[in-house]
């Protein structure tokens, strides 16, 4: 066996140790209805050393698409590895699934009606297009003629209405029956059993659906406000009782879809075989089939080296070190819709009245200079470089840069500057009175800040200790809530309940495709964990989703105002953005992860240039 392999083996064993020791924190976070998810912050493995992936410009760290030339073979099977240590759940229905991995599989056989642009706003390119009548709070959804399900049945307006009838039903047990959904006229009556249908959904003709809403906001273009972006095959499932749907074969074994591929075989929890859908509206795919397999994270790198898989999804960026020398793959990368943050508790949530009670004056972290100083004191740059190999980077805003029109790139962010942090603390009156190197509070009494952070693998511990040291360097005595890092469930339990033992906390949000911050920062939002609210903040948040914001420029302007205000007040300080990596074998042609032009939306064009996958020579 070559030396190289032994080295790799040793590395993998090291990872396995980590995995074995603390595997679980991250796996449970996967509730995702294509919107937003909270995430266990530091969940990825370690790196041996910090090697620069040789690029200054962070946007160009990785290519977004492969450019493999060569003559394509006819047909072929695309082997997809889903890097994951547990079986998938196998709920293949957009209204019912909860785990993001099921969504990953469904992307190959998607029932998605709309396509989106770079800001994730709905375009006219998809199966359906929409006309928004802002004055009357109505939306017309038009579908293309002649679009067929994978079983040959024509796509009907009933198929568009069907998902609403499922989500709104009283027996539906998913999370998607929410405030947004109730925005559809008649949804509540239907849910309560007072009506057999949802009155706000009207079939105008064979290709047009009219939807009536209580109110409309610009979020409708991001698929919000209650609009549902997927069709369900009503000819198959309309007679299945809602309560039994999730266990039915129509969802588990042979779902009918609109996507480029259709489900052929499913081994529960392990693998899925999909074959080309001859009825696909963009044309029959050039590939014959796609096989998706769950591959344990401990062996994914070797599997890629051996050319066992053509594409690896949910590949952990921390394994970049292991695969960077392989010459049979190209690693694509893009920034995720994600930011990690440091939060300050500035009040409590009144669960009775569902409202945030901000008490800046009465909070230990009430002084804005103190909060800013704590932001400047953190050497996030070094953490990104050393622990994450630059696959994360310092965040400057609460809107990830992917949302080009809304992201404020001019924000400076809290770049590491311990001198500035110290100066701010001096200014605010936190001085070291007794000369022990630790600052006392404004009255000269001992000052201790309680910090809650999530456990994960061993770098979670290392990073935590590093941050504690950062704060100590500027004279702040920060200690861990409960004395150690906290398990995921307990963490959110405590943060949500405004545990008095928490002054500051670190977590992350996956922001989903609707950038509206109202759900996380408004006065009524339960997930406004810092419990910070102000008149200006409320006003800006309202403006962002107001009728006036149908004017894109105005909306963008309000987004910027909000980002700047949050940066200045610092109730939440964004710390890091994250990269998502997708290794692709060199025999794959036309694969792209560009958000505006993803292969998942154009699977009919994907081809292979050889019968067998390429092995790495290294």
């Amino acid at each position: 066996m070559s030396k190289k392999l032994w080295g790799l083996l040793a590395l993998l064993l090291a990872f396995m140790l980590i995995l074995a020791a603390c595997n679980d924190g991250e796996e449970t976070t996967g509730t995702d209805d294509g919107t937003k998810t909270e995430e266990a912050t530091p969940e990825e493995g370690t790196e041996e050393e910090a090697e620069e992936p040789a690029a200054e410009d962070s946007d160009a760290l990785f290519p977004l698409a492969v450019d493999n030339d060569g003559t394509a073979i006819s047909g072929g099977t695309l082997n997809v590895a889903m890097s994951k240590d547990e079986p998938f759940q196998g709920i293949f229905s957009y209204v019912l699934y909860e785990d993001a991995y099921d969504d990953e599989i469904m992307k190959y056989a998607s029932n998605s009606l709309f396509t989106t642009d770079g800001d994730f706003l709905i375009t006219d390119e998809g199966i359906a297009s929409m006309e928004v009548d802002q004055d009357n709070n109505k939306v017309l959804v038009k579908i293309r003629e002649g679009v067929k399900w994978s079983d040959g049945e024509l796509l009907k307006i009933e198929d568009l209405i069907q998902p609403y009838l499922i989500i709104g039903h009283k027996d539906y047990t998913g999370v998607r029956y929410d405030v947004d959904f109730q925005n559809i006229i008649g949804a509540v009556e239907y849910h309560e059993g007072k009506a057999d249908t949802i009155s706000g959904l009207k079939k105008i003709d064979e290709t047009t659906l009219e939807m009536s809403f209580n109110k409309l906001s610009p979020a409708i273009f991001s698929g919000g406000d209650g609009l549902w972006g997927y069709a369900e095959p009503s000819h198959i499932i309309k007679d299945i009782p809602i309560a039994e749907l999730v266990e039915s074969d129509a969802v588990r074994k042979n779902p009918v879809t609109l996507g480029a591929f259709k489900f052929d075989k499913i081994v529960p929890g392990e693998s899925v075989q999909l074959v080309a859908n001859e009825h696909y509206w963009q044309g029959k795919p050039k590939l014959d089939s796609v096989i998706i397999k769950v591959v344990p994270t401990s062996s994914i790198s070797v599997a890629l080296q051996q050319g066992e898989y053509d594409v690896a999804i949910s590949f952990s960026a921390s394994k970049m070190e292991e695969i960077k020398d392989f010459d049979n793959i190209e690693v694509l990368g893009r920034q995720e819709l994600y930011y990690a943050y440091l939060g300050f508790k500035l009040g409590k949530y009144d669960f009775e009245n569902s409202v945030v009670v901000t008490d800046v004056e009465g909070s230990k972290m009430g002084d804005v200079k103190l909060r800013q100083a704590m932001g400047y004191a953190l050497d996030v740059e070094q953490v990104a470089e050393v622990f994450y190999n630059n696959l994360r980077e310092r965040a400057n805003s609460l809107i990830p840069p992917v949302f080009a029109s809304f992201y404020d790139e001019s924000l400076e962010g809290y770049t590491y500057d311990p001198d500035k942090a110290a100066a701010l603390l001096d200014e605010a009156g936190f001085k070291d009175v007794d000369g022990d190197g630790i600052r006392e509070d404004k009255e000269g009494k001992p000052f201790e800040i309680k910090f809650a952070t999530m456990s994960g693998d061993d770098i979670a511990e290392d990073i935590t200790q590093f941050y504690l040291q950062n704060w100590k360097d500027v004279g702040l005595n920060v200690t861990l809530t409960t004395g150690r890092t906290i398990e995921f469930n307990s963490f959110y339990d405590k943060v949500q309940a405004d545990d008095p033992e928490i002054d500051i906390f670190m977590a992350a949000w996956g922001t989903g495709t609707n950038p509206s911050p109202a759900g996380l920062y408004s006065k009524t939002a339960e997930y406004n964990f810092s419990r910070y609210s102000s008149d200006f903040l409320e006003e800006t948040l309202t403006n962002i989703d107001s009728p006036k914001a149908f004017d894109a420029d105005y909306r963008a302007e309000q987004f910027r105002a909000w980002q700047e205000y949050m940066a200045e007040q610092a109730p939440i300080i964004p710390t890091m953005y994250r990269y998502e990596l997708v290794p692709v074998n060199k025999r794959v042609k036309n694969w792209s992860i560009d958000y505006t032009n993803e292969s998942h939306d154009n699977l009919q064009d994907v081809e292979l240039v050889s019968d067998t996958a390429v092995k790495s020579t290294k």
């Binding site: 066996m1 392999l5 083996l9 993998l12 396995m16 140790l17 995995l19 074995a20 595997n23 679980d24 924190g25 796996e27 449970t28 976070t29 509730t31 995702d32 919107t35 937003k36 998810t37 909270e38 547990e86 759940q89 909860e98 785990d99 047990t173 999370v175 998607r176 029956y177 929410d178 405030v179 947004d180 919000g224 999730v246 266990e247 075989k265 081994v267 529960p268 929890g269 392990e270 899925v272 096989i291 397999k293 769950v294 344990p296 401990s298 062996s299 070797v302 599997a303 066992e308 995921f488 469930n489 959110y492 339990d493 949500q496 989903g512 609707n514 759900g519 996380l520 339960e526 997930y527």
Partner: protein
């Protein structure tokens, strides 16, 4: 004896009842619940609360317990919060996988361990014995995941002798011969790994039993009657030496459903070990309680089985 067995079975009922009470309370004591992971800003917290209410998680624990135990007594263990299917179906799927894998492992284990143990005992202090002892120490010392990874890389990815992930190849249809073969083929590498690592205790017990037996009266009698050495070993000593192994056989049988988190994770083999761990971290109460009850029952059954087996193989032991 039958009376005793029936009494032992009857006594299991209160034992399991106490276990169910304990596990139920402890599961509820864990921070968070199955809905904690559903914190999504665009989800109405009120909806999550509604789901929690619907699932009965807001009721006092004793009401939840009574509901659960009444249903459980009727065979309804509830639905998994994570997988959204009946717990019995879910466990059934995984248990089947785990059962076959463990069975193959155990068979391989005995195939390796018994000859080695007997030979080591018979040829005590020889080179062969030393090799066997060394082998058992080495395999005892190697952590499961280390050997599993080495085997996977060597025999799976390098030599391509064995499949690398999953429990079956998707290209076969259930019920065909190819499907069954594929299932067995997928089990082999994890089973061999497990078997090699589990041999130590069997080898050591057998070895020392054989060594002890060599100097016992009945062996000397047999030898003095003129019975050939090999026959003394294969008939007389062998049966007696198996006693300590028989003592564990009950547990071995019921342990077939235990599963190994390492093996399952490394070989991507969906089994019971993984199910248990992941249900704990996702607070999948219905699965947690069902699994603990199952394991509790199996442990009790295992000890009963062991006693019964002992009384069969060793006539001196009687269940009173």
């Amino acid at each position: 004896m039958w009376k005793t067995i029936i009494r032992r079975i009857l006594i299991m009922i209160p034992q399991l009842f106490v276990l169910s009470l304990l596990i139920f309370i402890m599961a509820k004591q864990m921070p968070g619940d199955p809905f904690t992971g559903m914190i999504t800003p665009e989800t109405d917290p009120a909806r999550v609360e509604e789901l929690r209410e619907k699932a009965g998680l807001n009721d006092p624990w004793y009401e939840q317990y009574v509901n659960w135990i009444v249903n459980a007594a009727q065979g309804d263990l509830g639905k998994s919060y994570t997988y959204k299917i009946q717990v019995s179906t879910l466990i059934g799927e995984r248990a089947l996988n785990t059962f076959w894998l463990s069975l193959v492992s155990v068979i391989l284990l005995y195939l390796i361990a018994i000859p080695l143990g007997v030979l080591a005992g018979r040829y005590q202090e020889t080179f062969l014995d030393k090799i066997v002892v060394l082998y058992s120490f080495v395999t005892y010392a190697i952590p499961t995941f280390v050997l599993a990874l080495i085997f996977l890389f060597l025999f799976g990815y390098q030599l391509h002798w064995f499949p690398t992930v999953g429990s079956v190849d998707i290209k076969y249809d259930p019920g065909t011969f190819g499907y069954l073969w594929s299932k067995l083929y997928h089990m082999l590498l994890p089973a061999i790994t497990t078997a090699l690592l589990g041999t130590t205790s069997v080898i050591q017990y057998l070895r020392s039993e054989v060594i002890d037996a060599k100097s016992l009266d009945y062996v000397r009698t047999a030898r003095s009657k003129g019975i050939p050495v090999s026959k003394v070993y294969s008939r007389h000593i062998f049966r007696n030496s198996l006693l300590p192994i028989a003592a564990f056989l009950g547990f071995t049988i019921t342990g077939l459903l235990g599963g190994s988190i390492f093996i399952e994770t490394i070989f991507g083999y969906p089994g019971m070990g993984q199910l248990f761990i992941s249900s704990l971290s996702s607070r999948d109460y219905s699965v947690i309680t069902a699994l603990v009850m199952l394991y509790g029952f199996l442990a009790l059954l295992g000890s009963l089985l062991s006693d019964i087996i002992m009384s069969i193989v060793d006539p001196r032991i009687r269940i009173e």
